[in-house]
């Protein structure tokens, strides 16, 4: 390993993703799997986006003694480590967190495995169809080329071989469509797979018939080509959906953290959160994040509830109070009673809200669905009318059926099935390169419809951490001696300005009050007004901290949760686009009002509970608004799931990221980017449907009048699929 790998910048060197800090204190040994003498740990790493991350992580972990195999998957952020010997799982996790990446334990759940299996089955079916297509085309081209010269026996032999190749492939690769068509037909409904299955079956059946009758035309090539193109669309769709599924998975990863439980014999054991039962005694160390709701028995501490309530300042908690999952304990160890296992914590309540939102979303009708419901009756009626018309005009039954089937084959929704997935894949790749990660493909359609924006404040509009705004040169340097010993966000803000340096001796921290220590023989205090013995003044806005040095008069430090740097431009831009905007925050009125004034939003609500947020979103939805929710906290998760479309910043809590349609890493300007790309994608999708319709308008008259040969069908179908794909790729060539 090179030292450079460890001493480089913290986090992703490409700058795509800000460094992430995992709250410490979790014990990962509960997630280690043993295979003989070898131990295996699967981790989900956040923030690794480029090749630099890959080599940094693999080199650093590979240097840990005993490690035999490290493999980082850059596409999905999973890290697999296998090692032998006494090395602890926590050492490995520490190595990764030291580099500035967020880590959570990861275990594959059932639905994740199923999604992976489905994607793989589609890929294999696609490969098999491609093999068959290549070979049948070889034979078909011979038949077309030898037209008029080839003897009837040779032609029939070539048709028969084509049929022998096509049959097993249609059964194997076509099963995805047949099964899906059958399962909806049983319930008396129809989806896109019904006309697809019909076209495949008829094309094959008619070709067998023609071959047995030693006829001129067999459509084996057309049926397999259809299958191949359709499988491409289906595979892209499955791949997008699997990425989306990873979102739900992150929720599980959050709950997977371990808990320190006090056993009967008073010994501390590390157990997985889901093994905790109601009434168990839990120890929460300083700096640790609670994963289950706890009723505090002993201990006083300050806690950071910003992810639970949106409140940006830490709160003092005492015995008897309840601590919700997602809260970070800042300064003193707490002992408490578990209020239930993870399945009935606040987090689980929010998970239920998420589920409700997701079900609502599943009812969203995509453009493609609408197109199919128009398309199916049209095509089938046309084919039926064609059959009857030819019979009435005195054609033989065989000719009439051939023409009707040719109509069905040539109008099969190949371009239609590709139109949406290809556009979505191109758009999501484009967003990915800009640091925006889409969680579901159909989300783009919903983003394109948005007309009302709702923002959370803390951590979304603002940085989420206080910044020092007043300056006192000498006092600051002294105060930093005390601040370095504390985990309190205000202390951290002082250290951020003062930089690294010495720590005062004999430091004591009093929860909710402040820090005390000795600097150059003088007692110094840093903390609240009461702590340094001055009158509390109501005149200051925003959080403050006092510092007293011996007998000298105490000085005051002022802090602010500052706006994201690009907020001004972004909101001017959004206003120019005519969006309605509002702020929903769990923070105090003054804090919200100040931010609202800075970005010139008149519609704001403060001290809003998670349920209030959900209610407000429901009200907006009822008023027929298409709401985009942007938020990062646990308190936003329900609202995020409820919104027509939702976005979470990269620093957001895992649950909120899972509840969102997309996660962005590049500041607030990403909101403008995603709305623009979504609008553009929708335009391309509509163009694609238009192209598919135009294709049918040309193809149908040719088919109905009986001029379609297998050669024309092959050219027409591949041309329409290619045109739709190229039109979607055009998005990559244009301007940003």
């Amino acid at each position: 390993m090179t030292d450079a790998a460890l001493s480089g910048p913290v986090g992703c060197p490409s700058g795509l993703e800000p460094p992430t800090r995992t709250p410490g204190g979790s014990d990962y040994s509960a997630f280690v799997q043993s295979k003989g003498a070898q131990k295996i740990l699967n981790l989900s790493v956040r923030g690794a986006k480029c090749g630099g991350c890959l080599s940094k992580i693999e080199n650093a972990v590979g240097a840990v003694p005993g490690v035999e195999q490290v493999r980082m998957n850059l596409s999905n952020g999973k890290l697999k480590v296998a090692w032998q010997g006494p090395t602890s799982a926590n050492t490995i996790v520490e190595r990764v967190t030291e580099l500035g990446y967020g880590v959570s334990a990861y275990s594959e759940d059932g639905s994740e495995k199923a999604a992976k299996r489905e994607e793989r089955a589609l890929l294999i079916s696609m490969g098999v169809a491609a093999f068959a297509l290549a070979n049948i085309m070889l034979l078909s081209v011979s038949v077309w080329g030898g037209h008029g010269e080839m003897g009837s026996d040779t032609r029939t032999a070539l048709h028969a071989i084509s049929g022998l190749i096509a049959f097993p492939v249609l059964v194997f690769s076509g099963r995805h469509f047949f099964q899906s068509a059958w399962s909806v037909l049983k319930h008396g409904r129809a989806n896109m797979d019904v006309p697809i299955s019909l076209a495949l079956t008829l094309a094959f059946g008619v070709s067998v018939w023609e071959t047995l009758a030693k006829g001129d035309h067999a459509y084996f090539d057309a049926s397999v080509m259809l299958l191949f193109f359709l499988l491409i669309g289906r595979f892209l769709d499955a791949r997008l959906r699997r990425q989306a599924h990873a979102a739900a998975h992150d929720l599980a990863a959050l709950q997977n953290r371990s808990v320190n439980r006090l056993g009967r014999d008073q010994s501390v054991e590390s157990v997985r959160a889901e093994d905790v039962r109601r009434g168990d005694t839990i120890l929460l160390a300083a700096g640790e994040r609670a994963v289950i709701d706890i009723k505090i028995e002993t201990g006083t501490s300050t806690v950071d509830e910003s992810l639970v309530t949106g409140e940006s300042l830490p709160r003092l908690i005492q015995a008897g109070e309840t601590l919700y999952a997602g809260t970070v304990n800042l300064d003193h160890p707490i002992r408490g009673e578990a209020l239930g296992s993870t399945s009935d914590s606040l987090l689980a309540d929010i998970a239920q809200m998420l589920e409700a939102g997701e079900q609502k979303r599943a009812r969203y009708r995509q453009i493609a669905d609408k197109a199919v419901s128009l398309y199916v009756p049209f095509v089938h009626t046309t084919a039926a009318v064609t059959l009857i018309a030819w019979l009435l005009l005195g054609a033989g039954v065989r000719d009439a059926i051939m023409v009707a089937v040719a109509t069905l084959i040539i109008t099969c929704p190949c371009a239609l099935a590709l139109a949406a997935p290809v556009a979505q894949v191109v758009a999501s790749g484009r967003l990915f390169r800009k640091g925006i990660y889409l969680r579901s493909g159909d989300a783009l359609e919903r983003f394109a419809e948005v007309d009302h924006l709702v923002f959370d404040k803390t951590g979304t509009l603002t940085l989420g951490t206080p910044t020092l705004v007043s300056t006192h040169g000498d006092e600051l340097a002294d105060a930093a001696h005390l601040a370095r010993a504390s985990r309190h966000p205000l202390s951290r803000a002082i250290v951020a300005v003062a930089g690294a340096g010495p720590i005062a001796s004999d430091v004591k921290e009093m929860p909710g009050l402040g820090v005390e220590g000795e600097i150059d023989g003088k007692r110094c205090r840093l903390g609240s007004a009461d702590w340094v013995g001055v009158e509390r003044s109501a005149a200051t806005s925003g959080p403050t901290m006092w510092f007293s040095n011996g007998d000298a008069a105490p000085v005051q430090f002022l802090f602010r949760d500052q706006l994201q740097s690009d907020a001004g431009d972004v909101f001017a831009d959004l206003r120019a686009h005519g969006f309605e905007m509002e702020i929903l925050s769990g923070d105090t009125s003054e804090a919200v009002e100040r931010v609202a004034a800075e970005i010139d939003i008149s519609d704001w609500h403060a001290q809003v509970s998670p349920q209030d947020k959900v209610d407000r979103l429901s009200a907006l939805t009822a008023a027929d608004k298409k709401v985009l929710m942007v938020g990062d906290g646990l308190n936003d998760a329900g609202a995020l799931a409820m919104a027509h479309a939702s976005l979470a910043p990269g620093g957001a809590m895992d649950v909120s990221q899972s509840a969102s349609d997309a996660v962005y890493a590049g500041g607030l300007s990403s909101i403008v980017t995603i709305l623009n790309v979504a609008k553009r994608t929708k335009r391309v999708m509509l163009q694609n449907f238009g192209l598919a319709a135009a294709y049918n308008m040309i193809a149908v008259p040719i088919a109905v009048t009986g001029h379609v040969t297998p050669l024309i069908a092959a050219i027409a179908m591949s041309a329409s699929s290619l045109i739709v794909t190229l039109n979607a790729l055009r998005m990559n060539w244009g301007r940003a």
Binding site: G51, L54, L74, S75, L123, G127, F131, L139
Partner: protein
């Protein structure tokens, strides 16, 4: 034209060979990390000679 009696099986055999290679690559996780492979090739191993 007798030659097609050999040529068609040969063509099918070659195709099947390609298909077998594809199936192997899918089943051995070759498509699991498309982004990582692109970056991995640029990585310096720094191993002593």
């Amino acid at each position: 034209m007798d030659i097609i009696v050999y040529l068609i099986p040969v063509a099918l055999g070659l195709g099947a060979l390609g298909l077998a290679a594809f199936l192997w690559s899918v089943n051995s996780d070759q498509y699991e990390d498309l982004d990582g492979a692109a970056h991995r090739i640029l990585e310096d191993e720094d191993k002593p000679l």
